[in-house]
């Protein structure tokens, strides 16, 4: 699965796509594949604050519970409510199934994140263990 180059990635397997001052966040295809059948997505409400590197929600598959880590800091402006009733969409299209949108507090934080190529290298190593 090629990782889209229009966004950045974390080592905790989130992606973040920035357009102007707004960022869209989801989890990667590698993350959905490792989790298996996703049955539950929990995110903060609109107005909630995310802090870079801190947990901001939960994804659960049939067998596992996994924290969501914020790729950057900001204030939630929109939540993908579709995932509350159809969490399996994340399995079908992880890079198209965003979880929250937010206004970035400090766009400079993005510089510390991985490019698509670096992330691909990172997961290849992780999968190789």
């Amino acid at each position: 699965m090629p990782y889209p180059t229009d966004r950045k990635y974390t080592k905790e397997h989130e992606w973040i796509q920035v357009s102007g001052n707004t960022a869209t966040i989801g989890i990667t295809d590698y993350a959905q594949e490792s989790l298996g059948d996703i049955v539950f997505v929990e995110t903060p409400k609109v107005g909630g604050e995310l802090t870079a590197g801190k947990t901001f929600g939960t994804v659960e598959s049939v067998k596992a519970v996994s924290d969501l880590f914020a790729p950057a800091s900001g204030t939630v402006t929109e939540v993908n409510t579709d995932l509350a009733t159809s969490p399996e969409k994340v399995n079908k299209d992880a890079h198209g199934s965003w979880m929250v949108k937010m206004t970035l507090k400090n766009p400079g934080e993005l510089d510390a994140l991985l490019s698509a190529a670096d992330y691909e290298k990172f997961v290849a190593e992780e999968a190789g263990h």
């Binding site: 939960t58 049939v62 519970v65």
Partner: protein, 382 residues
């Protein structure tokens, strides 16, 4: 400097086959086992679970252990170490039972098969193989009966689901329709002679468990023949993920969760498999006292009434938020499409309909005590 070496992870004879099929592998009780197969093979926990409820799935369960007791006093030995009444077993019949400590708590749960007049086979859990064997050997020394650990001799494959009998029938001349639930037969299977086939399982569904020679070539050949023969029934290879959700829907206990060395038979609700009319077995005396003293906590089924999944070891609270118990196993139930859990709670909170909460990430989330098992397979139309 000396260091304690971690025991090597164990592999079943089908390990290479699972890896070749692209199964996601996990460590389970010291074994490298498939947790689920890829979606391209019809896998994924939900698909695998549904295949077993509606069609057929096959599982490598070779990590399970096997202990054979044979000799003139084999029955007396089995009666001494297990809580069910093995004297009721006809040849080729099996029963669910348990090995107990003198305190009435669990060494393990087992299926006892009577294979011949003086020969019994105990099928035991993977994580308790050595403990169980040592315990059985040490507690049967006074009987004229040989105790053998056959755990490494078999590849055990479970063929589970309403179509399991149809699948297996294609590979054997033995008439499987004559084998009732919890009975065994022996016959030719995939060209191998004298293969033990039991109508047993751990999925709350009809099905068989077969015991074939543990060499890799034979194991792989039979596994592949099962998949090929099962094509017309939509057979799916299944991993431990689905095995767990299937057994949870059926309220089948898992050692270390619903039963353990600190939980007794009454608490676990396994009364009907514990025959107190037997004059003697290890644990009986303690159970008699425990019964007289009254049971304080009991295993119940919970269904989430609010959004959330109660997982293993999560706390259970009463409606006011006071901690009253804990979840032993919790998960989405793929066939029932509900989030369910088994939990130990005080008897006064165990009535069906009692409202409780599961503590999920610090929040009390609503749940209710429901009848169990959560799932019962439909009775076959005559």
């Amino acid at each position: 400097m000396s260091s304690v070496q971690a025991p090597a992870i164990r592999k079943t004879a089908l390990n290479a086959v699972h890896r070749q099929m692209g199964a996601k592998m996990v460590e389970f009780n010291g074994w490298d086992m498939p947790v689920e197969y890829p979606a391209s093979l019809g896998g994924g926990i939900i698909n695998e679970h549904m295949a077993v409820r509606t069609g057929v799935g096959i599982f490598d369960v070779s990590h399970m252990g096997d202990i054979r007791l044979a000799g003139p006093q084999a029955l007396a030995a089995v009666q001494h170490i297990s809580m069910n009444d093995a004297s009721k077993l006809a040849i080729a019949q099996a029963q669910y039972s348990a090995l107990l400590y003198p305190q009435g708590t669990f060494v393990d749960d087992v299926i006892v098969h009577r294979l011949a007049d003086d020969e019994y086979l105990l099928v035991i859990n993977a994580g308790t193989r050595e403990k169980d064997f040592n315990w059985v050997r040490d507690n049967t020394r006074q009987f004229d009966c040989a105790v053998e650990n056959l755990s490494d001799d078999f590849t055990q494959i479970a063929i589970q689901g309403p179509k399991g009998v149809n699948l297996l029938q294609k590979l054997t001349d033995t008439d499987l329709s004559k084998v009732k639930f919890y009975w065994v037969t022996r016959g030719k299977l995939c060209g191998l002679s004298n293969i033990l086939m039991g109508r047993t399982g751990y999925t709350a569904e009809d099905g068989f468990e077969i015991y074939i020679p543990a060499d890799e070539a034979t194991s792989a050949r039979v596994w592949n023949e099962l998949l090929a023969a099962g094509k017309e029934f939509g057979v799916v290879p299944c991993g431990l993920g689905a095995r767990n959700t299937l057994r949870l829907e059926g309220k089948l206990p898992l050692y270390g969760h619903e039963i353990s060395d600190t939980i007794n038979v009454w608490e676990a609700g396994l009364d009907r498999f514990c025959k107190m009319e037997k004059p003697e077995f290890i644990g009986r005396e303690a159970l008699e006292k425990a019964k007289a003293a009254g049971t304080k906590r009991t295993l119940v089924g919970l269904e989430m009434t609010e959004r959330g999944i109660a997982r293993d070891e999560y706390k259970v609270q009463d409606e006011s938020g006071r901690e009253i118990g804990y979840v032993t196993s919790g998960s989405p139930a793929p066939f029932l499409k509900k989030n369910v859990a088994l939990a130990y709670v005080p008897v006064e909170h165990s009535a069906v309909g009692t409202k409780v909460k599961a503590e999920i990430r610090g929040q009390g989330v609503g749940a209710v005590v429901v009848p169990t098992p959560f799932y019962k397979r439909p009775k076959k139309a005559a």
